[in-house]
Symmetry: C2
Subunit: 217 residues, 2 copies
Amino acid sequence: MQEFTKTDRNKVKRIPKRGHYDSKTIYEILDAGFLCHAGFTVDGQPYVIPTAYGREGDMIYLHGSAKSRMMMNLEKGIPVCITVTHLDGLVLARSSFHHSMNYRSAVVFGTAHKIEGEEKQKALFIISENILKGRWGEAREPNAKEMKATTVLCMEIESASAKIRTGPPGDEKEDYALPVWAGIVPFFQGIGKPEDDPLLSEGIPVDKSVKNLYEKD
Amino acid sequence: MQEFTKTDRNKVKRIPKRGHYDSKTIYEILDAGFLCHAGFTVDGQPYVIPTAYGREGDMIYLHGSAKSRMMMNLEKGIPVCITVTHLDGLVLARSSFHHSMNYRSAVVFGTAHKIEGEEKQKALFIISENILKGRWGEAREPNAKEMKATTVLCMEIESASAKIRTGPPGDEKEDYALPVWAGIVPFFQGIGKPEDDPLLSEGIPVDKSVKNLYEKD
């Protein structure tokens, strides 16, 4: 298990006991999601853009249109911050002040570079599998034209931290006597029933990757 | 209805038909959530941090510990980007290339400043109501010590855009004949059963704000 060195960049300053620096904890948070918020700065202006990702080892893979602003900026090798957040619930305390949320978030830092050839193909597979396991083998693979229209970036994770809150609220001693309900409202990612494309040919059942998604739940 | 001027900063470059610049659309996306990802830059390094927010008019309110790095940096008036994303579903096409997601995202730009007194109190109310309507009136209000420990920031929205994708996949003409399932896997924010604080005194029922949360569903 790797431990990221605590520096000014990745240190969890507020409530340090919620901070984690081991790659196991951080990568579990990354692997539990597929949508990140990527931050980058152009001419002093920060941008935060939602985008899909995949991870393998210490590498995060991003993809997008070759013409996208984010891709064109990130491939220059500028500093990037990628954040993945899972909201696990509202924490309702007896006082407004002690209200909180249960969450798992990972904040990772690095710079990205464009990848090509076999590496690019593999990265697209990793991103696709991270979004929906098994789907890559079901759909038609990208052709040369589609590959050309797609930029794939690899970001080596240089530094990272996770922040996690779990459990019930913590109230001031004297507030426990108040007649206020306190506890947790759990949140989770809900998945609705799959909806056929209106143009779906008759007799094509939902693919295995989609079925697995519901069985997992 | 206000329209934000299209500039280099807020223009949706990729798939411009998904871009929206009217405040109604953008504010609906903001108001449908309470967790944003705030981006800011310190010494050239971008940071993306998940945090709660509330909106009123063209103002976004953020709160946090007076000692938090984000609060201490943002209150200097540096450029901020606040992004709110709702993932509405996976869009499964017949080709890998045309896979997508249905989403609503709002990206807003501005600079923040610290607020005090009545304005601060009102902003905390707005943030609290945005997270859980009615909760502010149920819990004990912040005392002077708690108010002092909390920084509240107001960011006027200078520029903004939304990006929205809805509907079924769009495939290449020749791919419609493939025996691949295509359609939508809808995603939503699921809410589990409320869990009492283990230290809850007997006979205290779930408060109205929490009940309303489930009736809304």
